[in-house]
């Protein structure tokens, strides 16, 4: 009895993979692969949806792979895609260093590869890069923050995971702006790893110290929303202004309600569209610039309606 159950289970398992893998007909249109570092937050979901929409518009077939934040898994996915005859590969790298073998393999096989959102260490190996300057995003966020608090006061930074591309770039942007404002003092600068619950706890603890903060500037909206909750709970939103970056749905709503002072859009949808267009051009033998940059947009109460 037990053995029968076991055999049935195994057969079901095998069949289920066949069901998931099957259903895709061989067709004449070129097949493209999008390798995402992971699919677990608003940014990655928005980006992959934008690329999918662009592929549909351009009349090509697109398959999305989830790297699960594991660079070795992403390398294997690229290798399999090359073997399966994909025409071109878009990659949002799980690691800017570790992804090199996959890029080399694509070059060897003559499959055009475009990196998106993050520059890899050996960017010259890829055919093109589509993304934003994180430094610029940080500068836009900080310029507005400085204006909003009148150019002086004590401020705190909530940083992404230390060492990540976006954290380094955005924080550098903050300091580029602060050079001209000697009356602004950065009293706290800690990582909350993009996470709302960590940022909430950290901001609660800062508020306990009695230091009179004028602003909390966060590397992303998830952390800004955590800080906002802590400041609202302490009834200090009239003294402390909060700034974020990403333009997530809840952050936009908070900007519209006047609770979050500002967020910055990194034009995720535009990145997806530009990347897909560039890759299709490359596959068709056309030239594209090695770097295609998409701009940031500041979102405040004045223009938030355009983004919701």
């Amino acid at each position: 009895m037990r053995k029968v159950v076991l055999i049935v289970l195994v057969i079901m398992l095998v069949m289920s993979t066949a069901v998931f893998a099957g259903g895709k007909k061989e067709s004449d249109v070129d097949k493209y692969a999008l390798m995402m570092s992971h699919m677990t937050n608003s940014f990655t979901i928005t980006l992959s949806n934008a690329v999918k929409a662009a592929a549909e518009e351009l009349g090509v077939e697109l398959v999305v792979f989830d790297g699960g934040q594991d660079v070795s898994k992403q390398i294997s996915q690229v290798e399999s895609a090359i073997n399966q005859g994909y025409a071109g590969i878009l990659i949002e790298p799980a690691s800017v260093d570790g992804i090199k073998p996959a890029v080399t393999a694509a070059n060897k096989a003559g499959v055009p590869l475009v990196t998106i959102n993050q520059r890899i260490t050996n960017q010259e190996l890829a055919k093109a890069f589509v993304g934003v300057e994180h430094v610029e995003g940080g500068e836009i966020e900080m310029k507005y923050a400085v204006k909003a608090i009148g150019g002086k006061g004590k401020i705190a930074f909530l940083l992404g995971p230390l060492g990540s591309d976006a954290q380094i770039g955005r924080t550098k942007g903050y300091y580029n702006v602060l050079k001209d404002y000697p009356e602004i003092e950065v009293v706290y600068e800690q990582s909350a790893n993009w996470r709302t619950d960590e940022a909430l706890k950290l901001a609660e603890n800062w508020l306990q110290t009695g230091v009179e903060l004028s602003a909390i500037v966060a590397n992303n909206d998830g952390m800004a929303m955590g800080a906002l909750k802590a400041v609202e709970d302490a009834k200090k939103l009239d003294q402390i202004k909060i700034f974020g970056l990403d333009a997530t749905a809840d952050a936009l709503a908070a900007v519209a309600e006047g609770r979050l002072s500002a967020t910055v859009s990194q034009s995720t949808e535009a990145q997806g569209l530009a990347a897909m267009e560039a890759l299709v051009k490359l596959v068709n033998g056309e030239e594209v610039p090695a770097e295609i940059m998409v701009g940031h947009t500041l979102i405040t109460k004045e223009n938030v309606a355009d983004f919701q």
């Binding site: 937050n41 009293v187 996470r195 619950d197 306990q208 009695g210 955590g226 997530t248 749905a249």
Partner: protein, 320 residues
């Protein structure tokens, strides 16, 4: 003096080792930061920040005393948080719906864990490790991979409101669950059976205890409390985040272990677990207030956990 030594090395030290460690760390932080850390408002803040982990740790305590482990609680927090937030949009369902859903989903997952362990005879580490992965996937599927926003004010108040305008409700839940857990563990037959099967499963079975049933119950308690903690976290962060709760199981295990519960089961006290949860929150809060870099915080936290348990173990050795 001799009498004092006896007290220090005797029964009192054995029971209170971790309390003394806790008091010393508290005193050090109070001296380093008298104006911020030691303020009553901050002490209440620490209590609040300890609550969610404390509630998870209460469930984990039952599991570890019974000789098991539950790695799935962090993922349960994420799934139940996402589900609760999805049913808490304005004008859709009454507040009771997300509450009941979160707790019963946790309970159900705990029941599955228990079935696999008690009847499937699969080691708890493996069952709950598998469940941890499955439930994390479920949280991502249910939410479509992105956080769930837009919850009602009443939902936000579940964790955000205060009792008598002073005591955060999170603390009230933590205290209530602690009292209930302490009562069940020390005053009921079920509680004694949990100790019995953790101490020696075979002799427990011989003495007529239905080991399987007790085991399943233990994982159901842990799952249910994790479901409740997921509800609280979603309310506290005003959103259901599918990647939330990562490594929460390790914090809960750390609280239980710091509190002197033996990893091999059969022994441990409820108040040790409370101290363990408070100690973890105290360290995090104190280091944030002293503005210690997040990188060093990890090193210090890990070292304090090991030293706390080491002192506790040494304290117990002297008496035996």
């Amino acid at each position: 003096m001799k009498k004092l030594n006896n007290v220090m090395n005797g029964q009192l030290m054995r029971e209170l080792g971790i309390v003394i460690v806790f008091a010393v760390i508290l005193a050090i932080l109070m001296i380093l930061s008298p104006n911020a850390f030691a303020r009553p408002a901050n002490l209440m803040n620490i209590f609040k920040q300890a609550s969610i982990n404390g509630i998870l740790a209460m469930g984990m305590m039952f599991v570890i005393i019974s000789g098991g482990i539950d790695l799935s609680v962090g993922s349960i927090v994420a799934l139940t948080g996402v589900v609760a937030a999805s049913f808490a949009h304005p004008g859709e369902y009454p507040l009771i719906v997300p509450v009941i859903l979160a707790v019963s989903i946790g309970l159900l997952i705990g029941w599955f864990n228990g079935l696999g362990i008690a009847y499937g005879k699969i080691p708890p580490f493996i069952v709950t490790l598998g469940m941890m992965t499955i439930i994390r996937g479920a949280a991502l599927i249910v939410s479509g991979g992105a956080p769930v926003f837009g919850v009602t004010d009443e939902f936000e108040a579940i964790a955000g409101a205060f009792l008598f305008d002073k005591i955060p409700l999170l603390v009230v839940y933590f205290i209530t669950i602690t009292i209930l857990s302490a009562y069940i563990l020390t005053k009921t037959v079920f509680g004694r059976r949990v100790y019995a099967i953790g101490g020696n499963e075979i002799s427990a079975a011989f003495s007529g205890i239905k080991v399987e049933k007790v085991r399943i119950m233990v994982y159901m308690i842990s799952g249910m409390l994790a479901g409740f903690a997921g509800l609280l976290l979603a309310s506290r962060t005003v959103s259901g985040i599918p990647t939330a709760g990562q490594s929460y199981e390790l914090d809960a295990i750390a609280a239980v272990i710091i509190g002197g519960v033996s990893m091999s089961g059969g022994s441990g006290k409820w108040y040790g677990t409370v101290i363990g949860a408070l100690l973890i929150a105290v360290i995090g809060n104190g280091l944030d207030i002293l503005n210690v870099s997040s990188h060093y915080q990890l090193v210090i936290k890990g070292a304090i956990i090991i030293v706390a348990v080491l002192l506790d173990v040494k304290g117990k050795e002297k008496t035996t």
